[in-house]
Symmetry: D2
Subunit: 137 residues, 4 copies
């Protein structure tokens, strides 16, 4: 297992251009937030789909690293998204991940996405990551 600090340092070092911040990690869960500025908006004054997708992907990755330790080659194998409501243009996107399974070779989790501080879910994701053989000690 890795601490939130170790994972945040790993993400900052390996993905220097990321606009996602690790807020919490551990206990089969994680919370992350994606900055929202001009680059993240699309016409109509809303956050673009890929921003929400990136947030969900990182939330899953962080939650899994919290369980198995820093295993960089853990990779996404599938992701499913449902987009439900228009996010606010002036709030960060927050992703709250809960893992449903961390097996020997596959981990599965879901992510609820919100405009920070607002109660209604804007999108929902479910994803699967492949864990490299032998990575879990």
């Amino acid at each position: 297992m890795s601490s939130k600090q170790e994972i945040a340092a790993f993400i900052a070092r390996e993905f220097p251009q990321t606009r996602v911040q690790v807020l919490e990690a551990g206990g089969m869960a994680a919370t992350v937030a994606h900055e929202v500025g001009p680059d993240e908006l699309r016409p109509g004054g809303t956050v673009s789909g890929p921003v929400m997708m990136a947030t969900a992907d990182v939330a899953l990755y962080v939650a899994i690293l919290g369980e198995i330790g820093i295993v960089p080659l853990t990779v996404t194998t599938s992701l499913n998204f449902n987009f439900m409501r228009k996010p606010s243009a002036d709030r960060r996107i927050v992703g709250i991940c809960k893992l449903m399974k961390v097996g020997r070779t596959l981990a599965v989790g879901e992510v609820a996405l919100y405009s920070e501080g607002l109660p209604e879910m804007v999108a929902h994701a479910v994803g699967t990551y492949a864990i490299p053989p032998g990575a879990r000690s």
Copy 2:
């Protein structure tokens, strides 16, 4: 229906920061390409997942606009991705979309994603867009 030129101009005007280029549109299909540079890479020398997701999302949007005309408020409702192979770090990501249904309120299509010039599919997406009521003339 919109021509490829009209759609490319619309995308360039409304999404000025996009790194996706419209190559073909029409006939229930579209082909787009996403530039790949330092910002699109992740550790291990591969293209990041969100780049592939953005490519698929735009490919679907372009293919649908090719059928229904420029309807900006056509929005993604669901997207499903399977990531199959590591993309090349020095080639554009090309997305080839084929629409399976364009109904009155929903359009469904699939996207095959490749590293440009290489034969093996790196990822596959299926997505649904909601068409605003009354948008189809």
Copy 3:
């Protein structure tokens, strides 16, 4: 809105061959159970995938009817499944649905599937239903 009794009677009348029972409905949620006997098993002494898929599909349908009333032509537009653990061969499959959105034309929900009485989720589903225009009073 429909009561649990109304929905259970509707399901029994319209789907006479179903092996799914409505346990709860209302409050943006539903719980259903699928009988498991020889017809539901597959080699290896486990419940077949289609049994779990049918359970999830009915759980979503029941939860939506609980919100919008008996609208038979509400139909599934997309379903995503992740299968995580081998279900027990001698317990019913229970599906617990929580709706995330009930809009004018689309409803979205997730379903957690369990072997009855056991704590670990065996599968997870997310689905979208289309609500016919004008159905919501």
Copy 4:
């Protein structure tokens, strides 16, 4: 690799209650057909969703066994469905699977579902199967 005859015999022996018939297998592809009778219909005179889901699941399984041989413990890990048109009540459901990847531990494929003899796709599926370690010779 297994021949179509070997796979059909395996399916008939291990899934005696199945209503799915193997029509073709091999070359990273498979075609199967599901009988449609009173048990497969739902109100409105159409084929039930779970029938289409079962057809897609078997089509993927048969296509994979055609590549890796008879490995019964190959199991579905994820399935995504989009339902597009109402199937005919008096025609078999045909599923045509094309595999996109058969790796060491995961296989991915898509399935187009039709009412037999009609040109328009009624539903589309994408699925992932886990191949047990050591199963591929």
